[in-house]
């Protein structure tokens, strides 16, 4: 889309936008529709999908389950990224959640209705405790440690044979009905998306964002950065540990695959493709990537190549991601103007 010489592309905001990106001046039902429709359509589509079980078949219902799981992990990644922490090992959170619920259910016989919430909170505590000493690290150093931790967990479990060793723990109590399960996990994902967005609109969220942008300034302003980071880490771990706990009851099995690299790469690729920083982008990325990778299942490991390639293309070529691109197209007019017009202004 090259513009001819002597012409420039100009972007104009739609009229209802007032002052900032988030404040709108609404004057008619049509404008309310314009703002709410994208959200309503997406939420309605998400909640109708589980009802179409006969139409889609069980296979795609299960794919939806995995998609929602990856979406939760991607949300968790995006939350961490919003505080300036880059994780290369979401599998850590996933695995800790999965093993916590596995232990509670398998060894102590606690019902999944209690063990899943418990695993979510306790798992997030464990993850925060593990990562607390390294929260001071910045940039890729934090990434490297999160990259190593899930692999370390896997080797330790394999070598020491704790928590079932290579066999894992099977025969966990199942959850009822795929439709209900899907509703629960989709609802949790949506709560996370809108909850996180709200969180970042508050004063508290402002501090978190500032830590990402310039942590030394925040220290100079008298905030305890480590403490804020620890809180953000705990909040970010919640959706991921929940995803781990929920999916292990779905499969009725916890084992070493819970720390597998898939759970680190897929969420990362999702956020990169969908667009980091907005939470909706993370979810959008997961809903593009996971079904796509299911379509490509026939190609074997070539699908890993394909989504790594997509990740590479997006990180190099479209760093803003799909969501921000769509949002811009939706909120702005584009037109071509001549240089003379531009200079007259």
């Amino acid at each position: 889309m090259r513009v001819q010489a002597g012409l420039r592309k100009e972007r104009l905001d739609r009229g209802i936008k007032a002052r900032t990106d988030d404040i709108f001046a609404i004057g008619s039902p049509r404008e309310i529709m314009y703002l709410t429709m994208p959200r309503v359509v997406v939420i309605a589509a998400l909640f109708t999908f589980p009802l179409l079980k006969d139409f889609t078949g069980m296979y795609w219902q299960n794919v939806m389950m995995i998609t929602a799981t990856i979406a939760l992990l991607a949300l968790s990644w995006d939350m961490l990224h919003s505080v300036g922490l880059v994780s290369l090992g979401q599998a850590l959170f996933f695995g800790v959640g999965a093993y916590t619920t596995g232990y509670l259910n398998y060894h102590l016989g606690i019902s999944p209705y209690i063990s899943i919430p418990m695993a979510t909170v306790v798992g997030a505590f464990i993850c925060t405790a593990i990562l607390f000493p390294v929260l001071r690290l910045r940039g890729i150093y934090f990434g490297l440690i999160t990259f190593a931790l899930p692999l370390l967990m896997m080797r330790v479990i394999e070598a020491t044979k704790i928590l079932g060793g290579t066999e894992g723990m099977s025969g966990l109590t199942p959850l009822p009905g795929i439709t209900i399960k899907l509703y629960v996990i989709i609802a949790v994902a949506l709560v996370c998306v809108f909850g996180f967005q709200r969180l970042f609109d508050t004063d508290y969220g402002l501090v978190l964002k500032a830590i990402r942008d310039n942590d030394r300034t925040v220290i100079a302003a008298g905030f305890d950065v480590q403490w804020y980071k620890a809180q953000a880490l705990f909040i970010a771990a919640l959706p991921a540990t929940f995803a781990g706990a929920f999916l292990s009851h779905h499969y009725q099995f916890v084992g070493m695959p819970a720390f597998a690299m898939d759970y680190s790469i897929l969420p990362l690729a999702s956020v990169i493709i969908g667009g980091p920083g907005s939470f909706v982008g993370a979810m959008l990325g997961a809903f593009i990537l996971v079904p796509l990778s299911e379509f490509l299942r026939a190609f074997g490991t070539l699908r890993i190549v394909i989504y790594s390639l997509m990740m590479l293309i997006f990180v190099v070529g479209v760093p803003e991601g799909i969501f921000h691109y769509l949002k811009r197209k939706y909120h702005q007019f584009e037109r071509v103007v001549s240089i003379e017009e531009v200079e007259k202004k």
Binding site: L137, A159, I304, L312, V316
Partner: protein, 290 residues
């Protein structure tokens, strides 16, 4: 037992150092943490295998050709991928990681997973030192490892190109004002680092068969060594390889071989937690943590 620990510890240390040289070179000279290192390492092994078994080249000719191909590949990776994300550390890490995964999984898809894939050793047979049997290949690795580390140190400190690259790493703006081309320096360090990875692969891979998962494993070794030694220090690299090589041999001999991989990961985690700049790292303390 003691003599075998010393000799195999040395051999393991030399293997680690050889594998890590390329990564440390790239990080020290251009600041890019090249997570595609494992991919390039394994790619070189397969390229050498194809050259020897499909094209019928003698191994001694295939050896330099493979090193050259990997060097060119590193050069290309810089110009096609890294140049566009230069300076954005997160994007660099994700991009190189993606490149590594693409290379490894592409070979897995193409069926390079069976036991037939091995490349020949330089010299067959073995000898005995202090009553411990050791093959010539490991001795060559020890010798070449020491030689290469010395050469690299000499190159970085006493040649004009090496000093230009180091100047770039220490203060980019001053180096630019002295007429050193930033892209040229970074591309050259990528090419050299990839060539070193190929060299390491061609020496180390003949010790066993080539398997895809080696690519990921090598990456862990390399990260453990460079992080422990300090990301840009040559002495640190040598000391860290010795520490980890002996730690690995001792665990393998006196405890359970299963714990051998745990050693790397645990040291990686502990060093990052306690002193992220490593044993010999300098002047980066403030960039790593607040």
């Amino acid at each position: 037992m003691g003599a075998s620990v010393v000799i195999y510890g040395l051999a393991n240390s030399a293997i680690l150092m050889l594998a890590a040289l390329g990564f440390s070179l790239i990080f020290g000279l251009s600041g890019v943490a090249n997570l595609a290192h494992g991919g390039i390492y394994l790619l070189s092994g397969f390229v050498a295998w194809i050259l020897v078994n499909k094209l019928g080249l003698p191994f001694l000719l295939a050896f330099p050709v493979t090193v050259a191909i990997s060097g060119i590949l590193g050069w290309l990776i810089y110009w096609v991928v890294l140049r566009r994300v230069r300076g954005m550390h997160l994007s660099e890490v994700i991009a190189t990681f993606a490149v590594g995964v693409i290379i490894l999984e592409l070979f897995r898809y193409l069926g390079f997973v069976t036991f037939e894939f091995n490349i020949p050793v330089i010299m067959r047979g073995g000898t005995e030192i202090l009553g411990v049997g050791i093959d010539y290949q490991r001795l060559i690795i020890i010798g070449l490892g020491i030689l290469l580390a010395l050469l690299l140190w000499f190159f970085a400190h006493y040649t004009k190109i090496g000093m230009a690259l180091r100047g770039m790493a220490q203060d980019e703006y001053t180096a630019l004002s002295l007429g050193i081309d930033s892209d040229w320096a970074a591309a050259l360090s990528m090419a050299l680092g990839s060539a070193m990875a190929a060299l390491a692969a061609l020496l180390i891979l003949p010790l066993g068969i080539i398997s895809i998962n080696m690519g990921y494993e090598v990456l862990i070794w390399v990260l453990a060594v460079t992080v422990l030694g300090g990301m840009e220090s040559t002495i640190g690299l040598i000391v860290a390889s010795l520490l980890l090589g002996f730690a690995k041999t001792v665990t393998g001999t006196y405890f359970d071989p299963k714990y051998m991989e745990v050693v790397y990961l645990l040291s990686l985690v502990l060093v990052l937690a306690v002193k992220p700049s490593g044993l010999f790292g300098k002047f980066k303390e403030l960039e790593e943590r607040v």
